[in-house]
């Protein structure tokens, strides 16, 4: 971590807007963010890029623009929070803090819009949320057809109605699993001679959309003699609501998750999604900065949280797999995995050591895919333009399998290789490793 990053953590930045002034003052308006901002590359306007948003934030702080002016709100939500600008910022402006504290200030001032409020409040009631997701899985056949790759596509009347929001017949959405991941697993997957004990924070996407990937992760840990706890009372990490400025809800969710993990008595916490892992490593600490109970808990787990790749490569020195997987593979760096969790070499190391895998690096592998969680829903056109560049870069490698380390990127890539690519297989890198372990048994 850069020394500057530590000292710059603002006091109560998500509770008091004026705490961002220090971050704003760090910006010298050089515009280097233009070189990497995926939204700017698409729209080419100053309001797209971090410098423009800093300019507007300054105008808000000076009282020249109202924070809750609809135009200001629109601009603030036209950001993927991919943190690419922060990688290229010479003066190390923590732009994510500026953006999220502005969004939080809007929510403090005006409350959440009713639709967001309705959706986010279900997250606070896990049983209700869980029932809803399962009902969704049963009912999805009415509006969607099975399109392979754990994906579904809108059926015709819905496809016609949804065209403007990108819900056309070409849209591939991940299918909701009829049996979510955590329902398939016991509380503890034990091991006769455990090397270490880890807890798996599944995240919602692995739980509801990609449970097979979650099972792959469990099988990899089992191959490496790791005892895994998968506490049932874990829930959403809270990042999806936090990026909408809902600080209150993420605090509720984070407390529940911290308590759930405390009860596992595990030595390590494993994530398979950059946003979830980033929450455990950074955001929980920040939102509980002054909390005497949850502050220390958040700090405790932040030091023990690893992306599955880092856990395998650095923590337990995993056993190299021997089974052959014949595939030409490329890897897309998920923004939050690389830019928040600083994980980029480990997944590549894992992939390159799988027998039969030919690894091809794409140009700009760490350029955002345009998903941004809910950004793809609210800004479909821009999101798709960003994704097209990513898919083009992936296609030029000749890879037949595009891997990544984040389920949100998997959703976005699945939809867009279908639109602009050659229908490449989209996989979490852990699934390729799991397949190799499986194949070594078959060849015996």
């Amino acid at each position: 971590m850069q020394p500057d990053e530590q000292s710059a953590s603002g006091q109560g930045i998500y509770d008091e807007l004026k705490a961002i002034q220090k971050e704003l003052d760090k910006c010298m308006h050089c515009g280097f963010c233009m070189a990497v901002c995926p939204i700017y590359a698409t729209e080419k306007t100053e309001a797209s890029v971090a410098r423009g948003k800093v300019g507007v934030a300054e105008a808000v702080m000076e009282g020249k623009l109202a924070l809750d002016d609809p135009e200001v709100i629109d601009m603030l939500f036209n950001c993927l929070v991919c943190k690419s600008c922060m990688q290229n910022c010479p003066t190390k402006v923590n732009f994510d803090r500026i953006m999220l504290s502005l969004r939080a200030a809007i929510v403090r001032k005006n409350g959440l819009p009713w639709l967001k409020k309705a959706i986010f409040s279900t997250l606070k009631h896990p049983a209700l949320f869980d029932r809803g997701m399962k009902a969704g899985a049963l009912l999805s056949g009415l509006a969607f057809r099975d399109a392979g790759q754990q994906a579904i596509a809108p059926r015709s009347p819905f496809a016609i109605m949804g065209k403007r929001a990108g819900f056309d017949e070409n849209r591939l959405l991940p299918a909701l699993a009829k049996e979510p991941l955590r329902d398939r697993l016991p509380d503890v997957v034990s091991n006769s001679k455990p090397k270490t004990k880890a807890a798996f924070f599944t995240g919602c996407s692995m739980n509801y959309f990609y449970p097979d990937t979650g099972m792959d992760l469990i099988s990899v840990l089992r191959e490496n003699n790791v005892e895994v706890s998968i506490p049932k009372d874990q829930g959403c990490c809270g990042i999806p609501v936090f990026v909408h400025g809902d600080v209150e809800t993420i605090r509720v969710l984070a407390k529940r998750n911290l308590d759930a993990m405390d009860r596992t008595c595990a030595d390590h916490l494993i994530t398979s999604c950059g946003s979830c892992g980033g929450a455990w490593q950074h955001e929980y600490q920040e939102i509980f900065k002054d909390d005497p109970v949850y502050g220390p808990k958040a700090e405790y787990w932040s030091k023990r949280t690893y992306d599955i790749s880092t856990f395998l490569v650095d923590v337990i020195k995993y056993r190299p797999p021997l089974g052959k997987v014949d595939a030409v593979v490329t890897y897309h760096d998920s923004c939050h995995l690389k830019k928040t969790m600083k994980v980029s070499s480990e997944p590549r190391e894992i992939l390159k050591h799988i027998p039969g895998v030919t690894f091809k690096e794409m140009s700009k592998p760490d350029a955002c895919c345009g998903s941004g969680g809910s950004y793809v829903l609210t800004h479909f056109e821009t999101s798709t333009a960003v994704a097209k560049r990513k898919v083009d870069d992936a296609r030029r490698t000749g890879a037949t399998t595009v891997t990544t380390g984040c389920p949100a990127c998997m959703m976005q890539l699945s939809d867009n290789v279908n639109r602009f690519g050659k229908g490449q297989q989209i996989r979490h890198y852990i699934s390729v490793l799991a397949e190799s372990y499986r194949n070594e048994k078959q060849s015996l």
Partner: protein, 471 residues
């Protein structure tokens, strides 16, 4: 405010999405990368995608007496793109196509919105490069850098933007489009209009296409870092290297304040007790020549009491240049306002200028670091101040006045590479005199009689000249 009917005409000419009028958009085009200059809010931002659209914007603006501020990526450091008198910001960022890379003729033809680095990326597979490399190479546009005549780190050996522009197409204030120059190495047909429009800062016409020269990329290079106990030794080394007939691609200097700040900020292993460091890179097509030049540099450094470090690997080289790249951001991190100047002196005066600068900093009790392109006499005295402290800011302004006066005393110039814009307009008469100002006005009046193109920049109005004389 502009008449809504005019906005509607822009919309029908350019398309809905290429005409921006929201409060947020207006606010985001009120500044560029320049600190401590007034901001100004435009009435509308237009983003044409064709030359015909640029012409139609110019014609509509002229008929209605509205100012036009051409703009690339807004990374300039002279306040050159700020819409000080309302009107139209004409952003050329959507005209961003590389029309051709002609490897046989070593030229490229681009639209103005192409980012400089994108041109380099397109030239690289041919083993070619576009040498001008301002610090903003990954963000600045070709149009903007041609209009500002940008320099950069390689100026000493490779020259600046004007040495690479071979021809262009320009939309004039009367709406005409004119094409001149081209792909031929030699061309003495007509006036040398390319050199008139390079550095014209958007005041004479709108550049809509550029044909530029490319060079084969050097195959070998050697980076070095020399540290000194006195500024004088560093200055003498610069003169000594040139005298030894070595022209490094890059020959950069940092003073003690900059060295300490960079080290604190980026931890690149700079000696914080050194009074100055030189960062030197020689390059060329033959390894033998490059090594011989590096040896000559090492010798001169030794003769001038410098301590030498040669980068033996790519990582070490990267470290040397990471230190240089960190200079501005490191200094900027010290306070909320960065006043970055580019006063330039003949390189024989580099030592005198460095000493004079540190004296000016002391005299006005300011935090100031100086770094820059020692090899071409182009220094960047950088003052860090608090914009909310009126007393300090007034001392900053006095120091800046004195910096420019000193540069001129040494036979130098107000601006080596950032341009005049509005930041240095009031000093212009001091360098070029009344007759120079008159010539500027004569040309401006001939090409843009109503002064609708980038008003308030580069060419001071007569009244300001009087005010300046009393300063």
């Amino acid at each position: 405010m502009l008449d809504q009917a005019i906005i509607e005409q822009f919309r029908s000419l350019l398309g809905q999405g290429n005409v921006l009028t929201s409060k947020v958009n207006l606010a985001t085009y009120s500044y560029d990368a320049t600190a401590d200059v007034p901001r100004g809010t435009p009435d509308v931002i237009v983003m044409p995608t064709t030359t015909e659209q640029v012409q139609s914007v110019v014609n509509l603006a002229r008929k209605n007496g509205i100012a036009i501020y051409p703009r690339g990526a807004g990374t300039n450091l002279s306040g050159g793109t700020i819409p000080v008198e309302r009107g139209i910001v004409l952003s050329l960022q959507k005209m961003d196509k590389i029309l051709e890379v002609d490897a046989e003729n070593l030229t490229a033809t681009v639209q103005p919105g192409v980012v400089i680095q994108d041109l380099n990326n397109a030239a690289a597979p041919h083993g070619l490069m576009y040498p001008p490399d301002p610090g903003t190479v990954t963000t600045a546009t070709m149009g903007g850098s041609v209009a500002e005549n940008s320099g950069g780190l390689r100026g000493l050996k490779y020259g600046v933007t004007k040495h690479y522009v071979m021809g262009m197409e320009v939309v004039l204030a009367n709406g005409d489009r004119v094409r001149f120059g081209g792909k031929t190495v030699k061309n003495v047909t007509a006036y040398d209009f390319s050199n008139l429009f390079v550095g014209s800062e958007g005041t004479l016409g709108i550049i809509v296409e550029i044909t530029c020269k490319l060079l084969p990329s050097p195959k070998f290079r050697r980076a070095m870092l020399a540290t000194y106990k006195t500024v004088k030794d560093a200055g003498n080394t610069v003169a000594g290297i040139i005298k030894a007939q070595v022209i490094p691609a890059t020959l950069e200097i940092m003073d003690n304040m900059t060295i300490r700040t960079v080290e604190e900020f980026a931890h690149v292993g700079l000696p914080t007790d050194a009074e100055a460091v030189l960062l030197i890179e020689v390059d060329g097509m033959a390894e033998e020549v490059v090594l011989r030049e590096a040896e000559a540099v090492v010798k001169v450094v030794g003769e001038n009491n410098g301590e030498m470090r040669v980068a033996n690997s790519d990582e070490e080289r990267d470290k040397v240049w990471a230190a240089r790249r960190a200079a501005l951001p490191a200094l900027a991190s010290l306070n909320n306002t960065v006043v970055l100047e580019d006063a330039t002196v003949p390189r024989s005066h580099i030592t005198n200028m460095l000493l004079a600068l540190s004296e000016i900093g002391r005299k006005y009790h300011l935090v100031m670091g100086t770094f820059g392109h020692a090899g071409d006499g182009n220094l960047h005295p950088t003052i860090l101040a608090d914009k909310n402290d009126a007393d300090e800011m007034s001392r900053v302004h006095k120091a800046v006045d004195e910096i420019f006066a000193t540069a001129l005393e040494f036979g130098g110039t107000l601006s080596g590479e950032h341009g005049i814009g509005m930041a240095k307009m009031k000093y212009l008469g001091n360098e070029i005199g009344d007759t120079g100002l008159n010539l500027m006005r004569t040309m401006k009046n001939a090409l843009d009689p109503t002064h609708m193109l980038n008003p308030g920049k580069l060419i001071p109005a007569p009244a300001e000249e009087v005010e300046h004389a009393t300063r």
